[in-house]
Amino acid sequence: MGMASRIECVFFSEFHPTLGPKITYQVPEEYISRELFDTVQVYIITKPELQNKLITVTAMGKKLIGCPVCIEHKKYSRNALLFNLGLVCDAQSKTCALEPIVKKLSGYLTTLELETGFISNEECKQKLLPIMSTLLEELNATGACTLPIDESNTIHLKLIEQRKDPPIVQEYDVPVFAKGKDHFIKSQWDLTTQQAGLTDYNTFMHHVSKSSIQYYGVVTMVSIFQYSNVYCTTPIVQSLIDNKSIQEECLRYVTKQGQKQANLRDVFQLYCGLTPGTTVRDLCSRYSPQLQRVDERRLIQFGLMRGLIRRLQKYPVKVCRDEKSQPPRLYTGCHSYDEICCKTGMSYKELDERLENDPNIIVCWK
């Protein structure tokens, strides 16, 4: 799991009625220099047009992320309270994950001020300092923090790492636990996952597609295993040579139950033996010595999950048809054998026979 960038400083800035914009508190002290603040203060304590918006400003090698708040009321000197609780990171770091935290904090402080005058009251405001320290420490250490404010209020914050969206779950995909079932304690799962259970396949697949367990790398989709499948290597297979931890993980995963651990040379040869035109059946007959200690199913599974190999699917395309007939629905080159079998209920063998004998159909491998 990639870590979000380190937070270098937490600051609390205000508009003082006679001094103007200033930093009231910062943890660690003196992190933001006078010069830096002078340069960026117009984006920290802002004019009305920029208020209540998340603003990130980069200057002098630092990135400041804040959300300037303005609360108007005649009880405040000059009729308004302006403040900004923000975070500082290195200018090169990725700070997207911190943005929701800053926004959330500004909302919390606004509510606290409206309900109890937390910020405008000098005594209460001092409590901000220990809160800011805790925030800095805990977010950097664990990516989450719990900030008790007073007897009735606690703020919970968590850094959500940004990931790429997972591919859409298809009917013919097979879910696999990416990290091993036992790795996850059931009580840590969210309510919906617990309820879905593993009883009914359709319910579970539906749950997988709709929930975020795929997003978090808990479950990965692979294509169904068949001995007639064809695979080929990807450039990532090189990592089996370069990366010690992947090697170890791989050997542990693919070794047959009850056997001595397979060796890297054999496993690597097996992966490299996967080429276009070679089915798994072919691989097994060609490399039977290497497969003595290796489970071919798990070999393929590991290779797919880690991206060392990819499946080559067959895509039928109908090439000529007379003008009167309907355009092909499934034989367009966009639907794989797997998909067609799933949709039509035919077996792989049935479909293959049918298409091999049709002169108007060409099959592409991709």
């Binding site: 009625p17 001094l19 103007g20 005649k74 009729n79």
Partner: protein
């Protein structure tokens, strides 16, 4: 017909909370004194491009500068050139109740230094403001003291001092005098006003700027009792105009008459209102109104910078 606007830059400076934004809101933005309580602090500076058009298509650029310490320090350092160049008028506002006189004077002197360097021909005005908070019998004393101090401190520049409050007409007197300094061809305007007044046999004629109701020119043929009548009139008419607009009515003209005099206030040119005071009871209203109407065209022409100079032809009685 000239359409290029002449822009004049006016700096409005002073400590935070001294009353700058309130003043400009009243004069230029139709606030009444009570409403200024709602105003927030000015951040950095707000450049008010007042669409106050005076004679010769003059547009005022009023730079209302927030007075917090952080901002002030910036004005004298990183923003120095930007703020203090091309200034026609510097208005410095002092809060009469301030407890930090030394600090106030320090900032004032920094302003003067910057002005000397960047706009040495600028005119300087000092407003001793919030005078309503001083006891009435003390006001003259305190003001005179301050005036002396400020004149001394300002050398070699000369400054004109006013005592002001948003709660009375003193605000109008100060701002009228300030704006008067900015009007181009003001001598020509006064000459024409005098001719007009003499032809129609008026006791007094006042010319007001249309949006602010500041008196920008006047003529009187004899001494009058109340030297403060100009600003009082400005104040009264402005308040009346605002009250009218609250009822969705717009003020056009007014005639006030008793056995001693008749006063006419009416729209004059596109940028001005006129007030004519007649003390000869034998002259009927209608005649005066016709005269005012006829004079309009002439004064309209005066307001256009490149317009030819016409002599005044008036209908009499």
């Amino acid at each position: 017909m000239s359409s290029t606007a002449m822009k004049k830059k006016v700096l409005l400076m002073g400590k935070s909370g001294s009353g700058k934004t309130s003043m400009r809101s009243i004069i230029f933005a139709n606030y009444i004194a009570r409403d200024t309580r709602r105003l927030g602090a000015t951040s950095e500076f707000d450049v008010e491009h007042s669409h106050v058009r005076f004679l010769g298509n003059l547009v005022l650029n009023l730079w209302d500068c927030g007075g917090q310490d952080t901002f002030m320090e910036n004005y004298f350092t990183s923003q120095r050139d930007n703020i203090f160049r091309n200034v026609e008028v510097l208005i410095y506002v002092f809060d009469v109740e301030s407890r930090e006189l030394e600090k106030d004077m320090h900032y004032y002197q920094s302003c003067l230094e910057a002005i000397l360097q960047n706009s040495p021909d600028a005119k300087v005005f000092c407003l001793v403001h919030k005078m309503d908070l001083v006891q009435e019998d003390q006001r003259d004393l305190i003001f005179n003291e301050r005036q002396e101090d400020l004149r001394r401190l300002s050398r070699p520049l000369s400054c004109t001092c006013f005592r002001t409050s948003i709660w009375d007409e003193t605000l109008y007197k100060a701002w009228s005098s300030i704006v008067y300094q900015l009007i181009p061809n003001v001598q020509q305007l006064e000459t024409n006003l005098r001719n007009f007044a003499q032809i129609i046999e008026a006791d007094e004629v006042l010319l007001f700027e249309r949006a602010t109701f500041l008196v920008i020119s006047h003529y009187q043929c004899k001494e009058q009792r109340d030297a403060h009548r100009f600003e009082k009139i400005s104040n009264i008419i402005k308040q009346f105009k605002l009250s009218c607009s609250k009822l969705a009515a717009s003020f056009q003209s007014m005639e006030v008459r008793n056995s001693n005099f008749a006063a006419f206030i009416d729209v004059f040119t596109s940028n001005t209102y006129v007030m004519v005071i007649m003390s000869d009871p034998s002259i009927p209203s209608a005649a005066t109104l016709i005269n005012i109407r006829n004079a309009r065209k002439h004064f309209e022409k005066l307001e256009r910078v490149d317009g030819p100079k016409h002599s005044l032809h008036m209908r009499m009685r």
